[in-house]
């Protein structure tokens, strides 16, 4: 089937969203991990920041990223009329 301009725009928006969320994922995991030794001296809730990020912070960020993606994409589906039927 020939895709319309709207379809292409939907996919571009999806790619932009995916890229943005992956960038946050990358920073929360690898950039924070790379500088872990430098972040030790900052304390949050009694934890050194680097330990907190790897043990809890990053996990919370992952959950939020996935939740936001599901919510945002559902709205995008409707906006571009590519959503599935109601069950």
């Amino acid at each position: 089937m020939q895709l319309t301009q709207r379809h292409r725009e939907y996919w571009r928006k999806n790619l932009r969203l995916t890229g943005m969320l992956l960038a946050i994922w990358f920073v929360a995991t690898f950039v924070v991990g790379w500088f872990a030794r430098d972040l030790q001296s900052i304390t949050i809730l009694g934890f050194p920041l680097s330990f907190f990020m790897a043990a809890q912070g990053a996990l919370l960020i992952y959950v939020i990223l996935i939740g936001y993606y599901a919510w945002r994409m559902e709205r995008l589906d409707r906006e571009y009329d590519v959503q599935e039927g109601e069950r």
Binding site: M1, H7, L21, A55, Y62, G85
Partner: protein, 695 residues
């Protein structure tokens, strides 16, 4: 499926599982009353394991099916919330449940690579794969490869890789099943394996994916309750706060302060630690000297040493007032003396290494990449990040996990179910580091400094069960426990937490049931993946595409049985190391699947030649590096860029991406049909999909 049908189904599910959870808690309370009334521990263990296994079998029987869609993808009507729980149980294996907290206890910050890797991978699943695989909507992962790239070769490689990594992983799970059943029931390891296997089979054999899904939801409830109760109790004991995840930051500070005190010879505790360490260093040096003499003198030296021990024992027995304990020790030294040069070299090297590690100062729990010099620290950092990446990409490529996203009713629910999956998984993964710190606090403050005549009861109990999990020896003979005199095996942390926290035995039995649930649920998912690859991809798609439904399911079930027996047989031979098997499974999956799957959705230009090249190249590089560097295989070639073998997927993944890209660009672009398939999976609904879309 009509609208009211599904919502009634969801309401029904919620009611069933709410009842079930209540019933389970009631069961635990009932057993704890029995315990108070004097029921023996062994009996409690039997009842607990027996009842949960019967429950799984019961769900299996209730969900039996002879419908293809039900058998392979649970009828595609698993709601997001419940699919999330099922993914959680499918995902969390014996290694997560029992091993993770122990790894964190032993390696502190550096162990968090597993926490990050095993959760962050779901971001990749959610953003890059789950919704698209759901839209594609077939039965297996090789199905997608076969359809997207065309022809038999991509599917065949997919089948091979799916079986390879699932089989490696399932061995580790069955191993865990055998370990838990044998530890808590007294059956021997081999019997434990087959008993556990029986319950895996009843479930998946009768109802395939449908039975596995509903059992996994039940197993998730048991495993999370079993994990949480002891940790919450321990947290109340040490902090007065029932939310361990919040409370342990301050406990961590106390642990850090205690580490510094124990490492400082100026404090009384530190001085005693230093004394023990110097004895250990001396002992290590003696062993090193023995090793050198052994290399010089060979068998003659060994015979001479043994002669000395025999003589000493004889002399001791000759004395009239000899201490019987000393005689026993001398006899033991003779009996345990290595038989030949190779055995002596191995035993003494291991002893020297143990002493060397124990003689070193305590590593700080919260310090990332600890090391004496920048080069060591850099190497640790590199390996930490490489391992995280490997585990993440492996997560997003293990077929038994990806397969679960075929089972939701819609693309939208597939996206939501990744959210629920990670939510349920994170509950355990956020708790494990808390457990490690709380247990460490207990050991550092209550065990260290206590007297050998009054050890905490859990210490003596576990030391008498298994020396490799727990042992304390009074090395400097001062009657007081020093940290350097304590040896703890990682698996102890989860298994002994109920006793550390001072909970009744029924909670220990609950933890065992939780560990069993974790191992069984993962094993279920893996076995189904293997047998489905064989029955659906090999038999139905390649050998006999006209096979009637009845025969397809018969073949699927027969293969499941064969795979299960074969896996149990391999496990009973006890091959290798659990952590290695798990690490290998992730690296293999990451190298073989991820590049071809992700590029298959996001890059229309990817074609058959690229996929074939990428998958074979990725697998080959990964397997080659493992073979060359993992000590198990005995080649021990130099490492590439210091990356340790557990992260060999790094290189495999890279080779996989390069392979797909280069192979695709060198050959013609895929045809119009393929391009349309890609469009089809990218949009939750297109007019060309043809199905009615009620508004």
């Amino acid at each position: 499926m009509a609208a009211p049908g599904q919502s009634r189904f969801v309401a029904q599910l919620k009611r069933y599982y709410a009842l079930y959870t209540g019933g389970f808690i009631g069961f635990v309370v009932l057993l704890s009353i029995f315990e108070q009334m004097g029921m023996p521990n062994k009996m409690l263990g039997y009842i607990f394991l027996g009842a949960t296994v019967l429950l799984y079998a019961g769900i299996g029987i209730l969900s039996r099916t002879s419908d293809v869609a039900e058998y392979y993808v649970a009828g595609r009507r698993v709601p997001a919330f419940f699919n999330g729980m099922a993914v959680g149980a499918d995902w969390m294996s014996a290694a997560s449940f029992i091993g993770l907290a122990g790894t964190l206890y032993l390696s502190g910050y550096d162990g968090l690579a597993f926490v990050l890797g095993w959760t962050g991978g779901f971001v990749l699943v959610a953003l890059l794969l789950a919704p698209y695989l759901r839209k594609f909507g077939q039965y297996t992962i090789p199905d997608f490869l076969g359809a997207r790239y065309g022809g038999r070769i991509p599917r065949t490689i997919g089948v091979f890789a799916a079986i390879l990594c699932s089989f490696t992983y399932v061995i580790a799970q069955i191993y865990g099943v055998g370990l838990i059943t044998s530890r808590f029931t007294g059956l021997d390891f081999g019997t434990g394996v087959f008993v556990g296997l029986g319950s895996i089979l009843v479930c998946s054999f009768l109802g395939g994916m449908r039975a596995v899904t509903w059992t996994q939801v039940a197993q998730y409830v048991i495993l999370i309750v079993a994990y949480m109760i002891p940790v919450i109790w321990l947290s109340v004991k040490h902090t007065g706060n029932p939310v361990p995840q919040v409370a342990y930051g301050y406990v961590l500070q106390k642990v850090t302060a205690r580490e510094q005190a124990l490492n400082d010879p100026a404090t009384p505790d530190g001085a005693r630690e230093a004394e023990v360490r110097s004895i250990l260093k001396q002992r290590e040096k003696t062993t090193e000297d023995q090793l050198q003499a052994l290399e010089a003198g060979g068998a003659a030296y060994l015979a001479e040493e043994k002669g000395r021990l025999v003589k000493a024992a004889a002399e001791l027995k000759g004395k009239r007032d000899a201490d019987p304990k000393a005689i026993a020790a001398a006899d033991k030294a003779v009996a345990e003396f290595p038989a030949d040069v190779d055995a002596a070299r191995k035993a003494w090297r291991a002893a020297a290494e143990t002493d060397r590690v124990k003689a070193a100062p305590i590593a700080a729990h919260a310090e990332p990449f600890a090391g004496p010099d920048p080069a060591t620290r850099d190497k640790k950092r590199k390996n930490f990040l490489a391992l995280v990446l490997c585990l993440m990409v492996g997560t997003a490529a293990l077929p038994h996990i990806l397969m679960r996203f075929y089972t939701t009713p819609t693309v939208r629910e597939a996206r939501q179910s990744v959210f629920w999956a990670l939510f349920f998984i994170s509950l355990l993964y956020i708790t494990a580091p808390a457990l490690a710190v709380l247990a460490k606090y207990d050991v550092y403050t209550l065990l260290v400094g206590s007297s050998f005549s009054e050890l905490p009861s859990w210490v003596s109990a576990w030391a008498s069960v298994d020396k490799s999990l727990m042992s304390v020896t009074d090395i400097n003979h001062d009657g007081i426990v020093q940290l350097a005199e304590v040896n703890i095996g990682g698996d102890l942390i989860v298994l002994a937490t109920p006793e550390i926290a001072g909970l009744p035995y029924v909670v220990t039995a609950l933890v065992a049931a939780g560990g069993l649930a974790a191992a069984l649920s993962t094993a279920d998912g893996l076995m189904l993946t293997i047998s489905n690859s064989l029955s659906h991809d090999v038999y139905y798609k390649m050998i006999d595409p006209k096979a009637p439904t009845g025969r397809r399911l018969f073949i699927a079930k027969a293969l499941l049985l064969a795979v299960a027996v074969f896996a149990a047989y391999i496990t009973s031979l006890k091959p290798g190391h659990i952590l290695f098997l798990v690490g290998a499974a992730f690296s293999l999956a990451a190298s073989a699947f991820f590049p071809a799957l992700a590029l298959g959705v996001f890059w229309k230009r990817a074609n058959k030649a690229g996929a074939v090249l990428g998958m074979i190249g990725g697998l080959a590089v990964c397997m080659y590096y493992m073979y060359m560097t993992y000590p198990f295989f005995g080649v021990n070639a130099p490492l590439w860029w210091d990356i340790s073998p557990i992260a060999s997927g790094m290189f495999g993944m890279l080779a996989g991406f390069v392979g797909v890209i280069v192979g695709s660009l060198l050959t013609a672009a895929p045809g119009k049909e393929m391009q349309e398939l890609v469009d089809h999976v990218r949009y939750p609904y297109l007019e060309s999909d043809g199905k009615d879309r009620p508004v």
